[in-house]
Symmetry: C2
Subunit: 335 residues, 2 copies
DNA sequence: AAAACGAACGAAACCACTTTCGTTAACGGT
DNA sequence: ACCGTTAACGAAAGTGGTTTCGTTCGTTTT
């Protein structure tokens, strides 16, 4: 069932049918209704590939998980963002295409090639840790891109992330209000931009409240996982200088740290208060429930969609949007 | 940069280039190499839409989340399955297209229409709770479909789910070995097929071990969420008949039940032992860590991909595959 | 009544590729 | 020298739409 059938059923030309589909104004009302009715009855739907072929617009958004394979559907933050993004971009008439990196990595293909192949109208790129070069090729190529937690500099790109300095500020402030003057930090060492910002923001916040950063109260983790937090915490305990309050740069890190603490007979929050970051679902179910800073993933995803839409449809400057974080107080700092 | 450019650069016809791309045998080795070299240098990639248009194959798999909107990227089980599925289907050369239900629900479009529009080669449909009619239209249409946790009967469909009866059997057996003779159940009442199977399997398993099902030891939850488990547990506590062991048909339910127990001063596992189902990430971080039955999501996803591949490429009978579950012992039953 | 005009519609080129079928030339066999 | 065969390649007809540019015809203007 294609446009030709519809045309002949309605006794008009294919051009006319096409114009009706695309809301051209130069069609009489009676014919429009007649054709519409036939399309309805036959459940006709135009073919997206034929359409894409002639218009160069696919109404598809490519989704790229940048970074070593751990950033995929399993990543809680990513999942929330993409969920919100999907809702909003769906409302705007786009569908999501997930590039499968498996096959094409082995064949040496890259994201740009995939984007061209499918003629996606734009891409959202979400970054975990280190980012492969091919992501920046894509960015530089002029395909409209919006980056989450990654600095994209292409002329048709923008990027969005939480205000990470403010995240740290909020936790330090929270500790300070609770009377803590002795605050440690756990986070990955050579890390993504957001993580760097969190650490720098942490140091800055300490200063702001009249405390001074102390390298002895920092413990660097290899990665972002629970296990990494566990290791980092153990090293901090064994190192001797145990702070009374601790900011872990991700919830998983915090959860791992709590496990290490518990193993050594230390109690949260009595012996050490702790706050995480991200507000993944698991925070609510730990013991004690973890105080954390929520990244506003709904807003990030939604903004990403709207920004990308603008990027695809009008000229725009490259810019970065920061999204306000929110402290979520649970039980891991007492109270 | 299209096939015509390549052809003229190489001094051959477009037909020849096309044949080279598609590995036709009737091309001389020298010309093949020459053309290949040019394609390499120009980074040429054929257009997927043109290709789809003429071959009717898009190499795209449609992903449909069936059920009331809660089944999306936020659903842990779904996410794990789709992740494994994506890996395997990616290896086979397919990419994933997520239908955005937002827009098209409001416009009265359905899954079948979307599938036709994009000419997806097949679909994976993942079911949470109740399933809208449009899913069965898709199933019946002959588009190759594979269902996860949903019984699809179309002639080009298969479905996969965990062996839910065995899940229940394994938990009852576990409790039995630990000496419990008094086992309760929490689960949704009017529920999806897997949930029904779990409940029936539970009853059957009790009989098998010489215990008898007791309605007083069942508490039905409205849904699948933590809150639902909390409510159901409270009702059970207030109802008076508190079993010493409890099987919750999902981890979130179990986590909610644990919260209700703790609130009433009851301890897990001392006062009541509990096991959940699914093995979501949070199980590891609850207090105590939750013993549960792991659905083998890797295997489910992978099998789904391979089955769908067969469905798309050869004639096959409709059938159902059951996947073996695995008990994961943590701390919520003592020991 | 002739000219001008606008509304409604269609012819045809185009998008980038696939695939069938035909053509050509070289080669081996007799 | 002639025929049959095969290897290597190209012409052209699809595939299902979109869009430009006419064309036709009824209506208004002068």
């Amino acid at each position: 069932m294609n446009i030709k059938h519809i045309a002949s059923l309605a006794g008009v030309s294919v051009a006319t049918v096409s114009k009706i589909i695309n809301n051209y104004p130069d069609i009489g009302e009676e014919t429009r209704q007649r054709v519409l009715k036939i399309m309805e009855e036959t459940k006709y739907r135009p073919s997206s590939s034929a359409r894409t072929l002639s218009t160069k617009k696919s109404h598809l958004i490519g989704v790229v998980f940048a970074g070593k394979l751990n950033v995929d559907f399993g990543h809680p933050f990513f999942v929330q963002v993409i969920n919100a993004f999907k809702k909003q971009i769906g409302l705007l008439g786009y569908d999501l295409l997930f590039f499968s990196n498996e096959k094409f990595l082995e064949e040496g293909e890259d994201y740009l090639a995939r984007s061209n192949y499918f003629q996606v109208d734009g891409c959202i790129v979400i970054s975990g840790d280190e980012v492969e070069r091919s992501v920046f090729d894509l960015d530089a190529s002029g395909v409209p891109c919006i980056g989450i937690d990654i600095e994209l500099k292409g002329k048709n790109s923008c990027y969005i992330m939480s205000d990470n300095a403010k995240i740290s500020l909020k936790v330090v402030e929270h500790f300070y209000m609770l009377g803590y003057r002795d605050i440690g930090y756990i986070g990955p060492e050579r890390a993504s931009l957001p993580m760097q910002q969190r650490e720098e923001g942490f140091d800055a916040a300490l200063e702001k409240f009249g405390m001074k950063p102390d390298p002895m109260r920092k413990s660097y983790s290899g990665g972002y996982q629970e296990e990494d937090g566990y290791e980092a915490m153990r090293r901090m305990i064994d190192g001797g200088e145990l702070p009374r309050a601790l900011f872990a740069a991700s919830d998983l890190l915090a959860i791992g740290a709590m496990r290490a603490l518990r193993e050594r007979g230390l109690r949260v929050p009595e012996d050490v208060a702790i706050v995480g970051c991200d507000d993944i679902e698991a925070c609510r179910y730990t013991f004690p429930p973890l105080t954390t800073v929520k990244q506003d993933t709904d807003r990030i995803g939604k903004m990403a969609a709207m920004l990308l839409f603008d990027l695809m449809n009008k000229q725009m400057d490259n810019r970065c949007i920061q999204v306000e974080p929110e402290l979520v107080v649970r039980k891991s700092c007492g109270g």
